[in-house]
Symmetry: none
Subunit: 211 residues, 4 copies
DNA sequence: GATGAATGAGACTTCATTCAT
DNA sequence: AATGAATGAAGTCTCATTCAT
């Protein structure tokens, strides 16, 4: 009878046995509706109606409505991480890698508004999120950025008098803050020029003064 | 009577006739509960019980539970804005002003966790927020930062080859991203040293290269 | 979603798929409580408690409390109409039919006080009632009476110098006015003798003077 | 804390010391609103706003909202009774008196829709009504009709084989039933011709067969 | 004679969630 | 693997009514 504790979100493990159709249909439906509606305003009834499956299946497959949201976010996150890591493999040097990452990040926010909205607007207000497996994936991404910065410091590309965490905060925070308004008010973004400007600013701040 | 549109949350105007005690009691109660509970988990019953007033007064004075939240945020925001503007009056030069502002901002997130949580976690997922009078106050703050940067550009303190908006995004985004984790996981922050590091980074990025 | 207009009380259609137990339980409960309490004094909580089902089911099955009342009235009305029509089939001649109908009507008011109270006291003050499907049933009954009178006029049993509507008003109004006090103050009625008196009076008034 | 028992309606006595203005304003306001709105949909706030006085005065002057309604009805009833009694003084013979009364009654329903609606639709569903002083006035009217009928029986104008109560029920019920629809759906009534028809019918039924 | 704040209560509405089948 | 009924819990909303001043 008690509300399930927040921590009981059991996002399904990443590799899954052949999904029963209903599972995928529900995730598809939520993605589709999130394009024009905020999560709180979406009802289970709506999701399952669009999915064409029974409402209770949300509970069978995703623990609850939040779990479904987290699953959708997780799927997007895995795709994004995979893509970024692939792109980074072709780069040499921390600054080059950062530029690539920043651009990919902004492009993602611009090109996948559903992903962006979930990440920027929909999950943060739910305390259980920060204990979820999904959040661990987001932290993985944060560590990836941190690793690049640390590599840059080691390679003398990046100044070593400032905590690398702070540098990462600036990069990710800058990107997020910039993208927030376009995502909220549905404006497009010229991702390349913005990435260029942000890199220009950040690199000027973090680059090691040679000589 | 038509249902009030989300945007009509009607935050009370700033200067108010002697507010009835109940109004203040409700706002106090919500502030108090937000210290240990997220907004969604707080019920109207809980708020009014702690306030020691009748539940329906939430609707009389704040339209609904969200409106009460927005009012609380607005009260904090007004205090913060007033404080920052006062401090800025004693500063000369854009960089000095930015340093003052960044430090005040971080100190606020550190010292007033309820304010910080509302701003960083609780309001963004509600679409009506971005049409509220409360959000306009937040934008006022954003413009304040922008004005300082523009002043700095005019005075040749800050480089003019990057949009001032981008600079602002970096500053505010950096602050927010840094403060996010401490706010979520209830860690303290050594606001001075962090402000110092962020200023150091940002100023290196935005300062006009002389010569 | 727009608030449902009063007229959309949506009484369920007469022939229904196997009604879920809860639906019937709620109707039963209201009938039971109406025996000793007026509709306005009955709360949703009381109805659902006696029904042993959840309060919200009132809204699922009947739109609202009024809708439940109308449904109960409609069920009674259908039974009554069916019974009267069956009895009338065995009668020949308008006056004979009227006598049968008048007696059945009074007997119903006497024997089913809940039905009587709803019809005489509880629905009239609600404007939406007169646009409801339930009210249409009541009008159907009115037309039935009218048809008998018209038949009587055609067959020269009933005078043709007075509008048949007026005759119907007299019959139905007389019955209602007579039954009002017994219903309100819970007195019994000797329906046969009263029906006899009313018929005697009315028939004397409406009969065609032969010769 | 308990709801006042229905019987505690204390309609003000008929002759009153010079009414404070507010009292009359409230009654006027209710009369005015009842012209286009049913009693349940009218709020105290609305009444007092239109009256231009404070809401609480309803309680000072009329015990509660119902009391105000009853007072308005009572005022109308007194006027009506006075008028009818005056008209009757000029008539001789029971049938003549009944004709006068029936016509006055229908004319009242037609000419004063607020009075009609209160009497036909708004008070009956409130159990306390039947214990109120106001209802006693209505019964007074009923007795007046009865007295005329009894007089007619004594004078051999009216048949003596039927209870006079039954005759009264037929008269008053017939009038009410006829007027119900016009009042509900706001149609006008040609009171004279209707009165004529009803009298024609009723008199044919109740007249003593001479010879 | 009057006011405005506060109260209590109940209707209404909507959901997420659970459960029996 | 799925379904539909039922539940519990709040938020929302609106009032009549009371009370202190």
């Amino acid at each position: 009878m008690v509300k399930p504790a927040v921590s009981s979100l059991q996002p399904q493990s990443i590799a899954e046995t052949p999904s029963p159709p209903a599972r995928e249909k529900l995730a598809d439906a939520l993605r589709q509706i999130l394009a024009y509606k905020d999560f709180n305003s979406i009802t289970n009834a709506e999701i399952s109606k669009i999915a064409g499956v029974n409402e209770s299946l949300i509970y069978r497959y995703f623990t609850n409505k939040r779990g479904l949201l987290h699953q959708v976010l997780q799927d997007y996150m895995i795709d994004f991480l995979t893509k970024v890591q692939k792109e980074l493999k072709e780069r040499r040097g921390a600054l080059d890698k950062l530029r690539t990452l920043i651009q990919a990040h902004i492009q993602m926010y611009d090109g996948n508004r559903v992903f962006a909205k979930i990440l920027l607007l929909e999950v943060r207000n739910f305390p259980g999120y920060f204990e979820s497996e999904t959040y661990q994936l987001v932290r993985t991404y944060g560590r990836l950025v941190l690793d690049i910065i640390d590599e840059g410091i080691e390679q003398n590309e990046i100044r070593n008098d400032i905590s690398s965490c702070r540098i990462r905060d600036l990069i990710l925070g800058g990107i997020e803050h910039f993208c927030m308004a376009p995502v909220i008010f549905d404006h497009t973004v010229s991702s390349e020029s913005v990435a260029e400007q942000l890199c220009n600013l950040i690199f000027a701040g973090i680059q090691k003064k040679t000589g």
